[in-house]
Amino acid sequence: MAGHDTHDHAGTAPMVEEVTDFEVLEIALRELAIEKGLFTAEDHRRYTEHVEQLEPAAGSRFVARAWVDPDFRRLALDDAIAASKELGVDWLHPTGFGTPSDFTAFEVLEDTPTVHHVIVCTLCSCYPRPILGMSPEWYRTPNYRRRIVRWPRQVLAEFGLYLPEDVEIRVEDSNSKHRFMVLPVRPDGTEGWSEAALAEIVTRDCLIGVALPKPGVTTNATRPLHPALRPVAGSEAGGEA
């Protein structure tokens, strides 16, 4: 890479240094739509932020409800889009939740003690975003997408999930119009738990199928929080007027 005078960003990811027709088309359409009053630039910014910040919380509540409510469980398996709507996730009217192209078919894959499901998109990175938010980085890698379909037991072991040989693994391949989510088996040790407490242990990875829910392992991953070196006086809880 020697020989040119652009400043060096050692260790950073490469970027496509070429303007593509598709990038140009996306901008052109957006500008024309704004000029015609179909939506505003501020609308677009707001929806972009929304799309990029979706979280798997709705999927966790979905599973917890299915564990405690047999009627909801039946609905979830028969008509997952209707079941989603009961939790405030409307695949038809995305805002509030979801993105337009995720609409179409959504199916819940029910695990049993002898059958375990895991989802993938071998072609690209299709994912049930209205209910799980954005896909994890690894979900989009060729490593996962190519290998999970051929050697699922080995790839799951790489996530720390060791399934007994008598558990059948079914890999479901998503596409741009058909999305899936896993309904794991409710773990032992959760008898009598509230729906909210159950939702806490249904992490994103359980909904993809690369982990199993466990009492004590919650969605609330601890993040490092360092105290400010020079805290602002009077900024403690209870603050002033």
């Binding site: 970027m15 027709d21 024309l32 677009h44 972009t48 805002t95 060729p142 741009s176």
Partner: protein, 120 residues
Amino acid sequence: MTTGHDLPSARVRTLERIVEHDQTWGRMAARYGVTNPVPPWKSSLDAMCDALDEEGATLPVLTRRDDEDRLSRDVYGSLPHPENQLVALAHSLVTRHVIDEAELADRLAAVRARLDAAGA
């Protein structure tokens, strides 16, 4: 009430040229050693679709999605996702007379010139 099954089958030359040029993300990413399988404009496209569905009454939501499904499959089957989603949206807006094709062609040239100038 129509559900959009009357989609005009007219060809859109401006979009056909884009398809022929084939700057799809998979090819570009491979050329530049980029591993992200989704092009950087994808979330902006999703937001545009959300904004169209929620803010405008121009294209009823199911009409737009139905167009996307059928155009992606029948007209732009050679394109991968999400390029087919983007081009299908453009095709739908042009053939449903929301955006004029000549106006789109002019804007494409203007945007291209602007972006190229920024990288000169």
